[in-house]
Amino acid sequence: MWTDTFLIVFISICTAFLGEGLTWLMVYRTDKYQKLKTEVEKQSKRLEKRKEAHGDSLDKQHKKKIEREEERLKNNNRDLSLVKMKSMFAIGFAFTALLSMFNSIFDGRVVAKLPFVPLGWIQGLSHRNLPGDDYTDCSFIFLYILCTMSIRQNIQKLLGFAPSRAASKQGNSLFGPAPGQFK
């Protein structure tokens, strides 16, 4: 089992670097993305400071200013997500193909034993394409997803590609929470 599990860890390290490399080529290094990113970061920090300073004041002028800035930030965020989106789709397709290839290589093979029995809805993933009823058997896809979850995010953070905290706090993506929603 050592060989299978280490192979999966190795595969997910490779795909994480490949994914980040491709995104860097197509998105991160472009002037448009960098400009937008610094702009969003600056705006988020400014907005956060302003909200802290005038958080409870009922001054209409301040409120209006904050609302205007939130609107501007929202627009910039939308542009940023659109810049990212195209390449994300391309990478998504490439990775689906890669994943189905690995899936067929590891088809029906128990790659690891889980030290716990997963919850019902996770069993569909952890026991995918495996024979028998022993739900502590672990399929390739489950281990791969777990590896990717931890490795990809850490690599993003190490390389400095992860979105900044100030920006994500203000709800920085098209699908993220709207600014001020959780206030």
Binding site: M1, W2, T5, F6, V9, D31, Q34, K35, K37, T38, A112, K113, L114, P115, F116, V117, C138, L143, L146, C147, M149, S150, Q153, N154, K157, G160, S164, R165
Partner: protein, 127 residues
């Protein structure tokens, strides 16, 4: 072009100077944290390391079943809570409450923990 070099410079300097001193400060009690992000980074990476260490320990013991998952969540959150409230004595409210600090990097750490736990456990006890 100018914005590009500027951001690179900014990122570069914040990384090099930030890392050496913030890691040093991470091990000293009651350190000053003028940059909130620096402290959150320390919490994040401490969590990742803790996740992997707990994964190795759980597998060697070996701990099994949901008690393992539950214990991980408790120990992970507890250690980080003790670290920032008793060792560093930071003002939680500055970071948006204890919950913000407790959940910083939790999911990634949980995934890292599961991977190490599963790999070592199945490698040691199954052929």
């Amino acid at each position: 072009m100018t914005t590009k070099t500027k951001t690179l410079e900014r990122n570069g300097t914040s990384k090099t100077t930030g890392n050496t001193s913030s890691w040093h400060r991470a091990f000293i009690a009651n350190s000053e944290w003028p940059d909130k992000d620096e402290f959150l980074d320390v919490i994040y990476w401490a969590r990742q390391a803790l996740g992997i260490i707990l994964g190795v320990i759980w597998a060697l013991l070996p701990l099994k079943g949901f008690i393992g998952l539950l214990l991980f969540a408790l120990v992970n959150a507890g250690v980080i809570y003790l670290y920032f409230s008793n060792f560093q004595n930071v003002d939680e409210e500055e970071y948006g409450g204890a919950w913000e600090l407790t959940k910083e990097g939790f999911m990634t750490s949980f995934a890292g923990f599961l991977v190490t736990w599963i790999i070592i456990y199945s490698g040691l006890y199954y052929e």
